[in-house]
């Protein structure tokens, strides 16, 4: 092991130790506060009959649901638009590459067969063989 590798390994162990210590800190705090959640446990009960509210919450609820739907539908719509644009670009590029490849292949074919064959292909003589 080179000194550089040794230093890198020690640094790696140090970082792993620091990460483990950071992860353990909240766990220690959690252990000290076992009952805090239980102490403020709340009950939700169903109302029976007509009720009046001291702070009207109807508008807050409408805004909350409106925000949820706006965010979800907005995101799905945005994703749909981007997906169709990407699909279009992908199809166009695939076609371009296929065209360019076939063009390059047809250009390379006579050159690969030699200059004489290329000349023959360019100016075919009457009755001459193509192979």
């Amino acid at each position: 092991m080179t000194p550089r590798e040794g230093r890198a390994r020690r640094l790696g162990w140090l970082l792993a130790g620091a990460l483990a210590a950071l992860s353990a800190l909240p766990l220690g705090a959690l252990a000290q506060e076992q009952s805090a959640g239980e102490e403020r446990a709340m009950t939700m009960e169903a109302a029976t009959g007509a009720q009046t509210e001291n702070i009207p919450g109807g508008m807050l609820m409408v805004v909350a649901y409106g925000v949820v739907w706006a965010l979800v539908f907005g995101y799905v719509g945005w994703l749909g638009m981007r997906q169709s644009k990407l699909a279009g670009d992908l199809a166009r590029l695939s076609d371009d590459i296929a065209r360019a490849s076939s063009k390059a292949a047809s250009k390379a074919e006579p050159e690969a067969a030699g200059p004489k064959a290329a000349a023959t292909k360019k100016k075919p003589k009457k009755g001459a063989s193509e192979d």
């Binding site: 705090a29 919450g57 997906q83």
Partner: protein, 237 residues
């Protein structure tokens, strides 16, 4: 022309239809089936979207963290695509949680925001994954950016249990409804909450699938652009 990367699968379409049906049924459960809460009134109905959104946020961020670890081990684009999808969908639901929570708190606590442990840790997780999304949205991320973002997502993964247990173990104002002792929900409310969580499970699964598909298409396009440059198609760009 549709390629294998862009062609929608019947299972994806089916899951989308199922999600839409479940969300419609969920609205019926929330507004018709579940009773109005005695002390908080109608604003308590935010709870049926707020809690499942928090759960969907956990799912998205956890998938991002796990897929990022998978990417660091395997270095395949498939893991990377799933990680990007998880981060973005998790962030969407984190935003929903951080907006619907204060709307409920205004009525229940009289304030829009307080530096309660759960609220603060949720915001911290949101900021970590927002950094991930921003880092990945700077055009085509190189290998170094991808690895850095993956490490960031793994750090974010460590915050998730802290968010979850902060409300149970530390003193704060955020309520707990379902605990081992005390608290609780009226039976119709509990059924509605469980149904909402089911509907949001379908929603988050469908959204992550959709976003992963989109990311795979983008990766395919990036690969084709390299191929096009090799055959001399992109010389003027």
């Amino acid at each position: 022309m549709s390629t294998p990367a862009t062609r929608p699968s019947p299972i994806w379409l089916g899951l989308g239809a199922l999600t839409a049906a479940l969300l419609l049924a969920d609205l019926y459960m929330i507004f018709i089936y579940a009773p109005v809460e005695l002390r908080m009134g109608i604003v308590q109905k935010i709870f049926y979207f707020h809690v499942p959104s928090a759960y969907a946020m956990y799912v998205g961020f956890a998938i991002c963290g796990i897929a990022s670890a998978g990417y660091l081990v395997r270095r395949t684009e498939r893991w990377d695509a799933v990680a990007v999808a998880g981060a973005e969908i998790g962030l969407l639901f984190c935003l929903i949680v951080l907006i619907t929570g204060p709307l409920w708190a205004r009525k229940a606590w009289g304030v829009w925001w307080t530096w309660d442990p759960r609220l603060t840790t949720t915001m911290l997780a949101g900021m970590i994954f927002a950094a991930y999304v921003v880092l990945r949205s700077f055009g085509d991320a190189g290998e170094a950016e991808r690895r850095f973002a993956s490490a960031l997502a793994i750090v974010g993964l460590f915050v998730l249990p802290i968010i979850h247990y902060s409300v149970q173990r530390w003193r704060g104002t955020h309520p707990t409804v379902i605990t081992s002792q005390g608290g609780g929900l009226a039976p119709e409310m509990l059924q509605t909450l469980l149904f909402s969580i089911g509907a949001f499970t379908a929603l988050v699964a469908w959204l992550i699938w959709t976003r992963t598909r989109h990311e795979r298409t983008r990766q395919e396009l990036a690969r084709l652009e390299v191929e096009a440059a090799e055959v001399g198609l992109l010389e003027d760009t």
